[in-house]
Amino acid sequence: MSDALIQLFADVLKVDPSHLDDSSSPDTVKQWDSLAAMSLVVAIEEKFKVELSTKEIMKMSTIGLARKTLRSKKVAL
């Protein structure tokens, strides 16, 4: 599965997109550490032109949950 969101995570975390899916989380991807988490937020906000609240960011504990949050903000994914 490779789409815009997976590709963004792969680029920021510097991993092969084939190693990522909606269930990927900091527990399964070792590059997804606390520093990378902030880079991810900045990248998501820039790419999808959205502004994320602290609550929304805290809920994004997997790629799938990030997708859910972005869809709730009318981002087509």
């Binding site: 550490d33 606390s34 520093l35 988490a37 902030m38 937020v41 900045v42 906000e45 994320l52 602290t54 609550k55 960011i57 805290m58 809920k59």
Partner: protein, 510 residues
């Protein structure tokens, strides 16, 4: 541990076993809760009442948040829990600084912190925040009280999350030889780490030859080597003590088919400070990461703020251990170390720095170990001036000709540390041989029984097969493990001054 406490623990185990035979889910949970409250009542009915009250209030707040995830309710919940913690944990030392005999001094001595308060309060906070974040958690009041008072973890953690515990409270209990073997082995491993290794490192072979005496009873100042070895020695002692405790708790729960979060994952093999903090007291460091660092760091999108957030979070991590400046310094020190490591990483990623990989890994591991050792000096020192005196010795070249400790201390500390790393290396080699054997066996399945034809005979393959057999047939270990456990319990009962009462688990103090 007194005979009375042992009797209570035995009763708790019996009630838990009895609960297994109860068909109704509610009935089973109720029996488990009775066992948990019986266990906590060892420390007095007043403490138990407080635990029950905190559970009910947090459950009520959680129910409100589930109905409407309002930030107001969340702040109310955070404030109530932090106030509870502050009153019992942080207020007494502040009041004690007043005039002796005054009312506030009397009050300070009257306040006694309920055991495990820091642990179960953090569990309550994680529940409230998770519900606010709309995680699907729907505990009944019985299940929430069980989560707060769960007897293996109520005293010193690991700090659990309701999302992990709730499905386990609801599942049918299953007796499996796998759970029994793994559980008993972990309990025995924990006992060995705590009762043998931590105990010996603390007290030493000869009077004054242990880590405790090294910090508290040295006359005439420390030598440079002494300080490094005391830091490293205390780190290992704390590891054996708390990781030993964690093994016992996780193992006990596993016997009953419940899986708890891990607390340690070979922290002294870490090659960076960041990795270390994903392997040391994991249940607390992940709590701090998820509920303090993350919301704080996301308040702004600048790198300097991220660094501030790391330092603030780690300082709070230190302060969690108690109201002492040494703990604050310990936390702040680790915050600064993490920030320096992060900035160093950003810098080196921009530079093409050709270094042999093995050499780089070894250097990074050694540097991490030394940095952690310095941190333990701050953690263990009695006050800041004590820590400053020790650190001064570590950074004074002339102090390196002076040795303040008896010879047995150096032999013991270096011996145990080297033995630990040898065991870790040996374990890694055996694990590798086992993987090789399993890969080969899979290649030749289903013809293979013990040795795959193409790979036999080979000493490495033989060792791999033996390791695989012993690791798979865990019940082989059960007999000897139960004998050790039985012997220890017999010792604890016959000599009421069992080792537990002489040296309490360090983390029960927090």
């Amino acid at each position: 541990m007194t005979l009375f406490a042992l009797f209570i623990v035995a009763s708790v185990l019996v009630i838990w076993l009895a609960a297994w035979n109860v068909r109704s889910l509610r009935g089973r949970q109720l029996l488990l809760l009775v066992a948990c409250y019986l266990f906590y009542s060892i420390w007095g009915i007043a403490f138990l009442s407080l635990l029950v009250a905190s559970s009910l209030v947090n459950f009520a707040l959680g129910s409100l948040l589930r109905r409407r995830p309002s930030i107001g309710y969340l702040w109310l919940g955070i404030a109530l829990n932090v106030l509870l913690l502050a009153f019992f944990k942080y207020l007494p030392p502040i009041l004690e600084t007043g005039a002796p005999g005054s009312w506030y001094d009397t009050l300070a001595h009257a306040i006694i912190m309920p055991i495990g308060l820091s642990f179960w309060t953090f569990q309550a906070l994680s529940y409230l925040i998770d519900v606010y974040l709309e995680e699907e958690l729907d505990p009944s009041v019985l299940e929430f009280c069980l989560y707060m008072a769960f007897w293996p973890t109520v005293v010193s953690g690991p700090v659990c999350r309701l999302g992990q515990m709730l499905p386990q409270f609801r599942q049918e209990p299953v007796l499996s030889s796998d759970n029994l073997s793994v559980g008993v082995l972990r309990v025995v491993k924990g006992l060995f780490m705590k009762m043998c290794l931590a105990q010996i490192m603390a007290s030493g072979f000869t009077p004054g030859g242990g880590v405790t005496a090294g910090f508290d009873d040295v006359r005439g100042g420390w030598g440079g080597i002494d300080v490094w070895l005391l830091g490293l020695g205390f780190g290992f002692m704390l590891f054996f003590d708390f990781a030993g405790y964690s093994h016992m708790v996780i193992g006990t729960s596993r016997i009953f088919g419940m899986r708890l979060p891990e607390n340690f994952d070979r922290p002294f093999l870490s090659t960076t400070p960041s990795i270390f903090w994903t392997r040391w007291h994991m249940s607390l460091s992940f709590w701090i990461r998820d509920y303090i660092y993350k919301p704080l760091a996301m308040a702004r999108r600048e790198i300097w703020w991220l660094y501030v957030s790391i330092i603030v979070s780690m300082t709070l991590f230190g302060l969690w251990h108690g109201p002492k400046w040494t703990y604050v310094a310990y936390g702040a020190y680790h915050g600064v170390v993490l920030v320096l490591h992060r900035s160093g990483q950003r810098l080196t990623s921009r530079l093409a720095f050709p270094a042999p990989r093995v050499l780089g890994t070894c250097l990074a591991w050694a540097a991490t170990l030394l940095l952690m050792s310095l941190g333990y000096i701050l953690f263990r020192a009695n006050d800041l001036s004590h820590a400053a005196a020790m650190l001064r010795a570590a950074f004074t070249p002339s102090a390196y000709g002076h040795f303040a400790m008896p010879r047995s201390f150096y032999v013991l500390t270096i011996g145990i540390v080297l033995a630990y790393f040898s065991c870790a290396a040996g374990g890694a080699v055996l694990g590798w041989l086992r993987t090789r054997y399993r890969d080969a066996a899979r290649e030749h399945a289903p013809r293979v029984t013990v040795f795959p034809a193409r790979h036999a005979p080979s000493a490495a393959m033989f060792v791999g097969a033996v390791v695989d057999f012993l690791a798979t047939k865990l019940w082989w270990w059960l007999g000897p493990a139960l004998c050790v456990l039985g012997a220890w319990i017999a010792l604890a009962v016959s000599a009421q001054r069992a080792a537990i009462s002489v040296t309490p688990f360090i983390y029960t103090l927090f």
